[in-house]
Symmetry: C2
Subunit: 208 residues, 2 copies
DNA sequence: ACCTCTATTGGACATGCGCGCAATAAGAGT
DNA sequence: ACTCTTATTGCGCGCATGTCCAATAGAGGT
């Protein structure tokens, strides 16, 4: 196999891991699977990562961090806080649709058994919650929202989304995909005192 | 080891499997783990089950069905609908504490890859949701609750509980155990128009 | 007492896993 | 062309897993 630069090879290992994990699941992805996917030897992987746990954590980190920063920048395109929350839900739904949710399910299930993966999962989950927190806080400052405990409200909104999406991913057909977003947005509207339907409407874009 | 009747031994295998799975997770529970937990040889297990998959499926079914019927009967000890919901949350919390939630996480993650496990998980999940639905419907009939769509409200309540409990199980420390119940109960109170705090108080027992 | 059935044993077997390591080869700098 | 670094190989070690099976032991019927 062609000799690659460390950065390029490292990226390819992560990319190959994600391709395998999308089919077999994060937990069932082995060193030999990833090596075969790349067409290289299995020993090569341990030249770049100390353990398979680290490989999985890096792959999950890569995919999840990309989704996170994509969502973050989408939210910045709105100046008003309600619009930002609206963007948040839209971005979450897009990720959900493209099948990444199964990876989150795997990560959550494995979090308590694989320390590196668990730490990454925890950090990114908190980062998602903080996206909601900051949007709510700016909503309060702008006078359009009211909320006693933005941290708690954000956990409830995110957990409701996660819980509903889990039903969608694990038991297709028991609830509708369109209901997930609708229900979660409505619940958050009530919590922060927004007029019903505010989050459902496409937000105004920010003026430059 | 004492020679037991087939039924007794089969039950003990399932019980031992659950004890191990509570610690190691459903997916990581091995034949030898179960045998060691019982204090018998590993070959004995294959005398009763054709494969380890069958053991895990039977164990999950057993535990989940027991938790479900336990919760159902606890709810029946209350005549008023709000009391029943209160019992529901109490039962859910008890199950959660004893470590069974990791098993649900495993089941959800594996649902899309193991059809038999997925079907069981789906059926029992819907049954849990229906426990809430019937309580809400009787609350409406008793005139103590209002709800446009009990099915949807039940999914939201259950998903919020599941989502929050998932954070508890996967990322210990990010939220408090006591908050999970508090937040989920408050959210449901708002949804069905119950006075704040109603679900938090220990319900009156039913008079015979 | 013996006999029969079967619950139970304990280990063999093949497979798959993460990981480590000595050998190899490719590319970059001189 | 020569050297030096290191990306890459290919295999082997130790361990854990599920499955299978011949041998053993214990309880119930006659």
């Amino acid at each position: 196999m062609p000799r690659l630069s460390p950065n390029a090879r490292r990226d390819e290992i992560i990319a190959a891991t994600l391709r395998v994990a999308a089919v077999k699941g994060l937990a069932n992805t082995t060193v030999r699977d990833v090596a075969a996917e790349m067409g290289t030897s299995s020993g090569l992987i341990h030249h770049y990562f100390a353990s398979m746990d680290d490989v999985l954590a890096a792959a999950f980190e890569e995919a999840a961090a990309a989704d996170l920063s994509g969502t973050e920048s989408a939210m910045k395109s709105c100046s008003d806080a309600a619009g930002r929350l609206s963007k948040f839900f839209a971005a979450y739904a897009r990720i959900d649709e493209y099948g990444a949710f199964q990876m989150w399910l795997d990560a959550w299930a494995e979090a308590s058994r694989r320390p590196a993966l668990g730490a990454t999962s925890r950090r990114l989950n908190v980062a998602w919650q903080q996206l909601i927190v900051t949007a709510i806080v700016s909503g309060i400052n702008q006078g359009t929202m009211t909320c006693d405990d933005p941290e708690a409200t954000a956990w409830r909104a995110l957990s409701l989304l996660d819980g509903l999406s889990m039903q969608l991913a694990a038991h297709p057909g028991v609830i509708e995909r369109s209901d997930v977003l609708d229900w979660a947005m409505t619940a958050l509207e009530v919590e922060v005192g927004l007029p019903s339907g505010t989050l459902h409407r496409p937000p105004d874009e920010q003026r430059s």
